[in-house]
């Protein structure tokens, strides 16, 4: 006797506890086995690119905050670098150092959310709250300097909106010391937990060539075992002065490029970020952070594509200037947008529960996917 089976279409989202926002996944499932995943985007589309065309160059900066709202400093940073490249201006040393420290602090904060929500997707809610507690330290440090907790508008074209707060250096050092033991605790509580390993190892394996072909970047690419980090491979700002390693997925618990590797790369990356912060924090030179800010930002005609390593991957700004005060075209190559595309490839043949784990390990921010 043959049992008649049917494929079922399961709509996951846009309102669902673990689609990280308003993502809709159309799952074609047989029982619990996923046959096909079709992501549907656009629920958070806020017309960033169209808006940017109507703004002056410096007015776009607050809008970039809202792309990847968990790593707003990185967004500011990339945009500022792109316009600075168009304008051809050099920023003071002090600005470079502060930018790097801020970007690395932000990277830790962003990875904390990524790791935490990956755990929460799998059912471990407690580490999620511990990580949010630690993230609060970073947000407080940044808030003290620029006055905002999430949408900073801190890195301006040619400089910074504020100089660092007098307490900044002390508090950042305190944070570095505080944070190291919590990584160990996190490892014991979540990373090496047998259930967590079972849920993530050998799940959603992304081979290197597929990853590159799909344009994956950031921890998603490095989890597949390739050493590619724009901070080293295409150094921007002053990253070439610091000594740090690029953690890659090694397949410690399963296959190279599985969810656990992507997760673990983020943890090790936080350690490297701490290393960069520790190298930079004592060497901040004196200077005026606003001295290089141009009075009137009117770049010459031309195009520029500048990319930086955001916590989620390669964030690129493609800007066309037509010689006026408004950008002619701003295209954002958002890392989450590109990384999300690989989801359809990764989820085939896994279970519904794995879709959640894989989505969590890719770590998307819908603000950036939909722009």
């Amino acid at each position: 006797m043959t049992i008649k089976t049917e494929q079922m279409v399961l709509n996951m989202g846009p309102q669902h506890p673990s689609t990280h926002g308003v993502l809709r996944l159309e799952l074609e499932i047989e029982g619990e086995l996923v046959k096909k995943v079709t992501p549907h985007l656009g629920y958070l589309h806020r017309c960033f690119e169209k808006h940017a065309e109507a703004m002056q160059y410096n007015q776009v900066v607050p809008y970039t905050d809202r792309l990847d709202y968990l790593a707003a400093i990185g967004n500011n940073f990339g945009y500022a670098l792109a316009v600075e490249k168009l304008l051809g201006i050099e920023v003071p040393e002090r600005v470079e150092y502060i930018r790097v420290i801020m970007a690395e602090l932000q990277r830790i904060a962003s990875h904390l959310v990524a790791i935490g929500s990956n755990g929460a997707d799998i059912g471990a809610l407690t580490p999620f709250l511990y990580l949010f507690r630690d993230r609060e330290y970073i947000l407080n440090i940044i808030e003290e300097t620029c006055g905002a907790r999430m949408l900073y508008n801190y890195i301006w074209i040619g400089g910074l909106s504020h100089d660092i707060h007098p307490d900044f250096i002390r508090k950042t050092k305190e944070f570095c010391n505080y944070f190291k033991p919590t990584i160990v605790e996190l490892d014991n509580l979540l990373s090496y937990n047998k259930i967590f390993i079972e849920r993530t190892a050998n799940i959603g394996v992304l081979p290197v060539d597929t990853a590159i072909n799909f344009g994956a970047s950031g921890p998603t690419l490095r989890g597949s075992g390739i050493k590619f980090d724009l901070r080293k491979d295409d150094p921007y700002s002053i990253y070439d002065r610091f000594n740090f390693e690029i953690p890659t997925g090694k397949g410690l618990m399963g296959t190279i490029g599985d969810c656990w590797d992507r997760y673990y790369v983020r943890i090790r990356e936080m350690e490297q970020s701490l290393k960069i912060i520790e190298q930079a924090i004592d060497n901040i030179p004196n200077g005026d952070v606003q001295s290089a800010i141009p009075k009137r930002i009117k770049p010459p005609k031309g195009t520029v594509y500048k990319r930086i390593e955001n916590p989620r991957g390669e964030l690129g700004y493609f800007i066309i200037s037509d010689g006026t005060v408004n950008p002619f075209r701003v295209k954002v190559r958002a890392p989450s947008f590109v990384n999300l595309e690989v989801l359809g490839e990764l989820c085939k043949g896994y279970l519904v529960a794995d879709v959640i784990a894989i989505l969590g390990s890719i770590d998307i921010v819908l603000g950036e996917v939909d722009r």
Binding site: G42, H45, G88, N213, I226, G302, T303, G316, R333
Partner: protein, 182 residues
């Protein structure tokens, strides 16, 4: 590692007519203009040539060049006539670490460009986005649907309000019975 000029020379030898020009005037990077209906061939060559190995497409951006004449159409909206649309391809080679920017230009009315989806999978969504926001048709694309805008956007909108990122875009008055500029 090769500079844009060297790559241009290599391409010029391989695809003599399809490679249009090398634009070196831009302050930051040189742009190679190519034929929109040959981009697939050229991309394939760029990716598979052992001396080039452009294995990663960093960014694909559609641009409305907003050139041509501005005229009024029947409804009294400003539209561009005889203009062009462009698509920029920012390529990068992970093993060889060189970068290049390609540009294709196509007429504004009925813009058609060959898809590079079969070469770089990540072009899929980028091309869908360019189609969605600018109305550039990518030939041989497997799944050319809207991506960011609603799927039924066409049904409720007129010619000028179909593709939001075009420079002559006008907000439609109603979408599904809802007033758009609230």
């Amino acid at each position: 590692m090769k500079s844009a000029e060297e790559i241009f020379e290599i391409l010029k030898i391989e695809f003599s007519d399809s490679i249009l020009e090398l634009d070196k005037d831009t302050p930051t990077e040189s742009i190679i203009s190519v034929d929109p209906l040959q981009i697939h061939q050229i991309s394939k060559f760029l990716r598979e040539n052992p001396g080039l190995q452009f294995d990663s497409l960093m960014c694909l951006s559609g641009v409305d060049d907003a050139n041509g004449n501005k005229i009024k159409n029947a409804d009294g909206d400003d539209v561009f006539e005889n203009g062009t649309m462009s698509v920029y391809y920012n390529l990068h080679s992970i093993p060889l670490k060189h970068k290049i920017t390609l540009k294709v230009t196509t007429p504004r009315t009925n813009p058609k460009i060959e898809s590079v989806e079969s070469i770089w999978k990540c072009a899929n969504w980028h091309e869908r986005e360019a189609f969605d926001l600018l109305g550039i048709y990518f030939l041989n694309h497997p799944d050319l649907r809207r991506i960011l805008m609603p799927y039924d956007w066409d049904e409720f909108t007129t010619e000028v309000s179909r593709y939001p990122l075009r420079k002559d875009y006008k907000n439609p008055e109603f979408y599904q019975g809802m007033k758009v500029p609230y």
